[in-house]
């Protein structure tokens, strides 16, 4: 089999119609066709299938454009010959790496993950620090055997704007009486950012470590709050290791919906009615196929009025954080985020997400765009409505 046969098969399908270009968030931001999926595919087709003297050479210019992509997969929805986007982008990024084109920023990002085992460039021992404010009865990092392992992921472990999501999910798990564990300091990055940079070998190293560690718990289910981590565990690990998982992998929203349907969570309506819309993160929605579960939860939550955004589900617009863009092209990511934040704010004052990256990105973008938009994670909303155990009344203070 030819080395890049899978990519060749996909790029041969392209008819250069440009349907992918119009809705591409980075293509729209840059404007020039070189940033569109159409041109990137044309370049790779000529690189792989072209003949001398017109065969194109791999170049840094191309690599720069290639990484100006959030891997949101919208091109796959628009493609009229149904090219397997975003899968083919991962493969092309790997190809670029193998052809020896190194972008400094990409090397820096992957270097950080390799050294620290997380994307935040923090000591990995700090990974479970978010638990300190979770107020759990039991420390889940001390649990040795569990039915459920909550794989927290780098975003929810290290970034303050996303840590609340991890705390919320841990509280939900505890409230439902589930026996669950957290890997704590032995958890390493899932490898998604490595795959995104085309460094498959490095991603595999992270995978092997995580797979070995998780075995110890004997879990039946692995749940992640981050859609990218979910996708790694569910789709990429079996593919990269050649072995199926011996546990079920779920995103936290799927798990929570199950708990709600089993009446394992007692919810109390908030004091004020909340007007919300929903932002489908690309990795959970378009690329993960999870559209209904978050909406079902939203509809089951008391006191929540949900309005669907016109650009939702498979035509949801990326927040700009995906595909390592936030790390490689932060300004572009912010512009894309601002557009999405503005658009969401026109529908409701609160945007609900199920992805730590989207939450962080939309919060920052709304601030930069100066739009009135609060971004909430769905799990936090559920956790906030959990019936609190009654506190013993405090004795009245004796009058002075």
């Amino acid at each position: 089999m030819k080395k890049y046969a899978a990519i060749e098969k996909q790029v041969r399908k392209c008819i250069q119609c440009g349907s992918c270009r119009v809705e591409c968030p980075t293509g729209d931001d840059v404007g020039w066709i070189s940033c569109s999926p159409r041109a990137k595919v044309l370049f790779i087709r000529d690189f792989l299938l072209g003949r001398k003297p017109t065969k194109v050479k791999m170049s840094e210019e191309f690599a720069r454009r290639l990484f100006q992509c959030t891997l949101c997969g919208r091109c796959g929805v628009e493609c009229i010959t149904e090219i397997d986007f975003p899968e083919v982008w991962f493969e092309i990024r790997e190809l670029v790496q193998e052809e020896g084109v190194k972008l400094p920023i990409v090397e820096t990002v992957s270097g950080i993950i390799k050294d620290t085992k997380n994307v935040a460039n923090q000591p990995n021992d700090d990974r479970p620090n978010w638990l300190k404010r979770a107020k759990l009865a039991t420390d889940p990092t001390k649990v040795e055997k569990a039915d459920v392992v909550y794989y927290v992921g780098c975003m929810s472990s290290f970034y303050p704007q996303s840590q609340s999501m991890a705390r919320a999910f841990a509280q939900i798990l505890e409230a439902s009486g589930i026996n669950f564990a957290i890997m704590g300091t032995s958890e390493h990055c899932c490898g998604f950012p490595m795959i995104s940079t085309g460094k498959v070998h490095e991603a595999k190293e992270l995978m092997y470590h995580n797979q070995e560690e998780i075995k110890k718990y004997g879990a039946k289910t692995v749940v992640a709050t981050c859609p990218a981590c979910t996708s790694m565990w569910k789709k990429e690990y079996p593919k990269l290791s050649g072995k199926p998982n011996d546990f079920e992998v779920m995103h936290a929203t799927q798990f929570v919906l199950k708990l709600m349907k089993e009446n394992k969570l007692k919810l109390v309506p908030p004091k004020q009615e909340m007007q919300v819309t929903f932002h489908d993160g690309c990795d959970l929605g378009r690329n993960g196929g999870v559209y209904d579960e978050p909406r079902e939860i939203l509809k089951m939550l008391p006191g929540v009025v949900f309005t669907e955004h016109s650009e939702s589900k498979d035509i949801s617009v990326c927040c700009g954080a995906g595909g390592d863009l936030l790390m490689t092209n932060p300004e572009m990511a912010d512009r894309i985020g601002q557009k999405r934040a503005k658009s969401l704010s026109e529908v409701a004052p609160v945007a609900v997400t199920c992805c730590p990256s989207c939450k962080k990105q939309l919060k920052d973008a709304a601030k930069h765009a100066e739009v009135k938009l609060d971004t909430k994670d769905l799990l936090e909303m559920v956790a906030d409505m959990l019936e609190k155990p009654e506190k013993p009344e405090k004795p009245e203070k004796a009058e002075a």
Partner: protein, 490 residues
Amino acid sequence: MKRELLDELMGLGVDVVSTPFECQFYGFDVTPLPKETSWVFRGTTPDAVLRPKNTEEVVKIMDFANKHKIPVCPRGGGTSGYYQSVPRSKGIVIETLALNNISELDEKEGIISVSGGVIWSQLDWELKKKGWTLKTYPTSYKSSTVAGWIQTEGLGVGSLAFGSIKKLIKEIEVVLPSGEVVWVPNEGLVETKSGNLKFEDFIKSEGMMGIITSVKLEVRRLPESTATYLLKFKDKNDFALVSSRLAEVSSIFFIEFVNGSYMDLLVQSGYHTPKHSKEEVFAVIRLEGGKSDVGKGEKEIAALLAEHTEIAQLPQEEAEEEYGYRLKYFRIKNAYSSVTPADLSVPLSNLGQYLDKVSRFRFEFAYKGEILTKEQCGLMFFYVLANELSFVRFMSAAPYQMEFILSAMKMGGSPNGGIGLLNTPYVFGLRTQSEREAFIQKKETFDQNWIMNPGKWTDPPFFLRPSIYFSGMKLLEPVCWLVGGIVGRW
């Protein structure tokens, strides 16, 4: 382009790129050509690409181009397929996609004003938010621009109901090659510094007479009612027999049909299709309009089906699914390496006769057709030989394409999609001699430096001149029929 000119261009204050990496992607449209042809089509990569955001910026570019006699090639979505939007003599490409303003809808008149670079799907999206929609749009709806389609006098989805785009335009704003800006109404003459111009001068001009920067376009309210059918015909003759009657059904909006071989390609591409044989023809029919009109149309179709019991009506869900795929007919590309179709139209009254004739060709092909107007039917033929990745196979396919088109022309048809560069050999079937002469004379008057989109049908390369092209093809033909006979099977 010389360095000092590039520097001057950069100083215009318009977004510009000029590196070979950026410019290389503007040397193509949707038609795949073998790399070996690059020695023939030299000069297709521009020296610089500009993205003006408004009419004033377009004027600046035209002034610069005129001053230095630099060729200008306008490009919208780059979807034309006949190299209309690909330069022939380097120079400047003006990409119009940043001319993307959508103004307020005049609900009383049913007219919307848009910039020329607005993409059809984006315009429709905005209209639908207000309860309105397009009357007609191209099948390249997702990526082609309003101004681009106007300049090929587009016929597409909905033109069966509302006619060509030409009828739906009220007025256009054009930046002439001289840099002068004029508003041209659909009817009557407009005075310019170089003489009088009329709407028709731009409608098939393919970017050779100026750049359309704004358009006032008729639109409609979302239809109150719709109905969709998927009908199966025993063969092409059965379909041709009722095609004119179908085109006359009340509130008819769209009719598309494919043959069994096309269905085979869909199956090979991994799609579900109804059971079929190669000879059968499947037609998707869509009615749109007021409740009573659609109801009337439904009754007319019911009567037709009662009269022609050999026509089978397939389930509603399948009909809706097929209609949903109307813009994705190239999804068959999953089945084989390349698609370089013969794209043409024939008079609807000659459809049966034409399909009979081409069915006698000695190689297998699939086709997809669309009834464009009550008199005209568009057809697209796909044949396995056409493969741009192999120069031999690509060249071997050329005479086949020629056969499809010439056969159509003998029956009053013509190639589709305008002339551009690649349809130049068929120019005599698309414009009469007097039309060609009049156009060239007008161009000489209004584009004295001949800067607007040069090198297309008005001054083509030597080998695309009809006499040269057809002589070459005749020489190639015997070899090609032989090659086609051997490898021209799916």
